[in-house]
């Protein structure tokens, strides 16, 4: 029987620049049976809130949802590490029949007593949405009893895709914002939104901002703290990274507190520099602008000679990108260009129409642009484009490796800092160390070449 790597219903979500016209279809539910690389609403909420290190994160549901997200993201904390534990109400058959509210109440009671968290997030899962537990009422009651914020996160897995989960997470955080003391905050102050401190990245970014004279009020959410988020409305500007994971919170803060926001990326030399410039320009202070220029100059001078070495080796190699949010893809396209590599495929799980228009603008002719892809499509594209290196997350890694293609992990589990100027060098080094490895001499793809 003949098989199709690309299902008919999926054709509109694939775009070849220079060949196809019109716009790419996106932001829709995953097709049944297509083996999407996406997760669910719960996943969206969980990844956004997870790095808040002094909060209790209780998953209200059966054990799977909690166990598959236990210490899942390499989000580092400089202090408490409560976020690295996996808490669940572990719902059983009887709870499903009679309701899980009592169990939730008891679980919160014992866990809050045990860990003394600054706040608790209670995640709803598929099943809770079905059995009709009143999460809000239980949270409200426990908040009063324990005298800490207990926040429901309405993240039932089936109620949309990851983006809906981002919204639910932002809504929960929104309850915290505005409840802390905002005295003694500089007028040159920001919140960092949408960096999750993988491998310690937010420490580096904070350092850059502090060096140029900008105060960081709250990390949202990498190395995050409940008390910082409570006073984050005292900042003058929200600096938002990532494709919309925390944009909803910035929008909410703009409406409620009149705080403007900027979208940035800390990945790659160009975007990192641009992020610092746009923040200092926003404050319109000559001293800050000058500081930013000096910092960028200093960092780029350090970086350039080493990058050159990698560029020489990697010149003309072909890269494919498949990431969660499209914003990261923009930066990656530029970063690959900086090290001489050519991007031949780029896709994301949750891109918006605007994201894909931008991707089309910044990529070369013939590039494949894809929304919500799956293993068979991705592997077909890797082969068709004779890709040398694939960048993605854990689920993409075995696709690349199985086919003898080098790989760079740009997702939750990486242990190397890839943001900032230093991160660019790490990125180049990681790409280099995979692409140049002698192991590819032995894979069928190379040994069976005619």
């Amino acid at each position: 029987m003949k098989t199709a790597a690309i299902l008919d219903q999926r054709q509109a979500q694939i775009f070849r620049k220079g060949k196809d016209t019109g716009s790419i279809d996106c932001n829709k539910d995953s097709l049944a049976g297509a083996v999407s690389q996406r997760a669910c609403v719960f996943c969206g909420s969980r990844v956004v809130l997870y790095p808040i290190a002094d909060a209790l994160h209780l998953v209200h549901g059966p054990i799977g949802c909690a166990v598959y997200t236990w210490d899942i993201r390499g989000a580092l904390s400089s202090g408490p590490e409560l976020h690295r534990l996996s808490f669940s109400t572990d719902l059983q058959e009887l709870d499903v029949i009679f309701g899980g509210e009592k169990k939730l109440e008891k679980a919160l009671d014992e866990l809050i007593d045990r860990h003394q968290p600054k706040a608790a997030f209670v995640y709803s899962t598929c099943i809770v949405g079905l059995i009709g537990d009143d999460l809000e009422a239980v949270c409200k009651m426990m908040a009063a009893k324990k005298n800490i914020p207990v926040l429901p996160v309405q993240s039932e897995g089936f109620k949309g895709n990851k983006r809906a989960g981002y919204r639910a997470a932002c809504k929960a955080m929104g309850e915290l914002v505005g409840t802390g003391d905002i005295s003694n905050i500089s007028r040159y102050s920001i919140n960092i939104l949408g960096d999750f401190n993988l491998a310690g990245e937010i420490w580096l970014i904070r350092q850059y901002f502090e060096k140029i004279g900008v105060e960081v009020v709250a990390n949202i959410t990498g190395d995050g703290r409940v008390d910082d988020i409570r006073r984050s409305h005292g900042a003058s500007l929200n600096v938002v990274q990532c494709s919309g994971a925390t944009m909803d919170l910035a929008d909410m803060m703009s409406v409620k507190y009149g705080i403007p926001s900027l979208r940035v990326s800390y990945f790659g030399v160009e975007d990192m520099a641009e992020a610092l410039y746009s923040v200092t320009e926003h404050f319109n202070d000559a001293r800050l602008v000058e500081n930013a220029r000096n910092l960028v100059k200093e960092e780029v001078e350090k970086l350039t000679p080493e990058l050159k070495r990698y560029k020489t080796a990697l010149q003309g190699k072909k890269a494919a990108i498949y990431v969660g949010g499209a914003f990261k893809a923009f930066s990656l396209v530029k970063a690959f260009r900086l090290i001489g590599m050519e991007v031949v495929m780029v896709g994301s799980q949750t891109g918006t129409p605007e994201d894909y228009i931008e991707l089309e603008e910044i990529t070369d002719e013939g590039t494949i642009i894809v929304d919500d892809a799956n293993p068979l499509e991705l592997s077909a594209f890797l082969k068709e484009k004779e890709v040398d290196l694939f960048v993605g997350g854990v689920k993409e890694r075995p696709i690349a490796y199985k086919l003898g293609v080098a790989f760079c992990d740009h997702n939750h589990e990486r242990k190397e800092m890839l943001a900032g100027f230093e991160g660019m060098l790490n990125f180049a080094r990681e790409v280099y160390s995979s692409v140049m490895s002698p192991v590819w001499n032995f894979v069928p793809r190379r040994t069976e070449e005619k």
Binding site: L7, V35, L58, I63, E110, G157
Partner: protein, 448 residues
Amino acid sequence: MSANYTSTTNACKLCRPLGASLAFRGIEGCVPFLHGSQGCATYMRRYIISHFNEPIDIASSALGEKQAVYGGAANLKLGLVNVTSKYAPQLIGVATTCLTETIGDDVAHILKEYREEFDTEDSPTIIEVSTPSYAGTHMEGFHGAVKAAVEQLSEVAPANDSVNLLSGFISAADIRYLREVFEEMGTDCTLLPDYSDTLDGPALDDYPLIPKGGTPISAIRSMSGARATIELGSTLPRDTAGTFLQQRHKTPLLQTDLPIGIRLTDTFFQTVKTVTGLDLPARHTAARGRLVDAMVDGHKYIFGKRAVIYGEEDIVVGLASFLAEIGIQPVLCASGGKSGAFKQAVTSVVAGMTEEAPIVMENVDFYDIEEMVQSLEVDLLVGHSKGYSFARQHNIPLIRVGFPIHDRVGGQRLLHLGYQGAQQLFDTIANSVIAHKQDTSPVGYSYM
């Protein structure tokens, strides 16, 4: 979750559909399919990939809000059509999730409708298993999927000389080992499930639609005619694939523990002999001899060490038996499972071999284990990689076994079974103890 607490912290179990997905991956030409929300399939893929470092495509009916209200039948059917046209599978193994169990989708009925609507000559066979995440662990899912495959695929087959081997959840290396045992004896063996190739395959030029390998469907169809079924596990559910074959087809059934360590491997080979009439191949006699010799050589370094063993009940039972044989005291045997048979099984395999009776705890999480360990002196942890944070905190060596192993390469290649498996375990354990002593010694001797 123990009796003392309501909440679970750092669970020592996984959810039921994960076990079913793994088992279905071990059948030739099969695509595992989860009827539920998209996230379940993706999370489980990620969890499995991080252990095996292999692709595993698990399809999903990707239900949304509308389907949760009106039922998931249409999405399930669409998903099956799409999987069929993309993967051309011989078999699709549908497992339910808590979502579809709770909304009450009648999967058997939906599949009946589906067959009426879509069946053509080259349509794949579809089997289904109920795996609500809120009842049982991944082990119930695993055994349930194996049972479903046998129930729904096996036919009345003519008597044949082969042996059915239902091996339980073991590593890819373990499966290869068992296959070799029967190959050496020249006995046909239907080993179910067999993911030794599908989840530990070679580098390829083309991404496989479905990886090669797995138990052939034709072999499953004729399992009823086998001379006997050997089913491995100490805490098996009451109704299994083995009991089904026995009751429905009168296929003789022999249930025995996982062959971990000397005595349980002896028992296993005895069982094989009962079924086939064949003696142990010479290679294994030699391996047993070397193992005993190695145990003698190394016994002093490990005697009296105190170990905590955790993980799935069956593997813990096997490891407790082996540790007891080499003079290590299993002080605590713990599992997130709750078969009800765990305590009895551990007690019986260590009887007469240890100074103290181990504490045996079922239905526990890592919080319970850690709390319990405070009052016990412990030298070693033996279990999967999720015990690492605890091992690190208390500076206790962790011997990685079973599933998952997310922080090392090669988890799928760990051999636990047979005399060879015991040999590897012994060397690893003895060397960990020796290394720990060497590393923490002020002298740092270069001899043991």
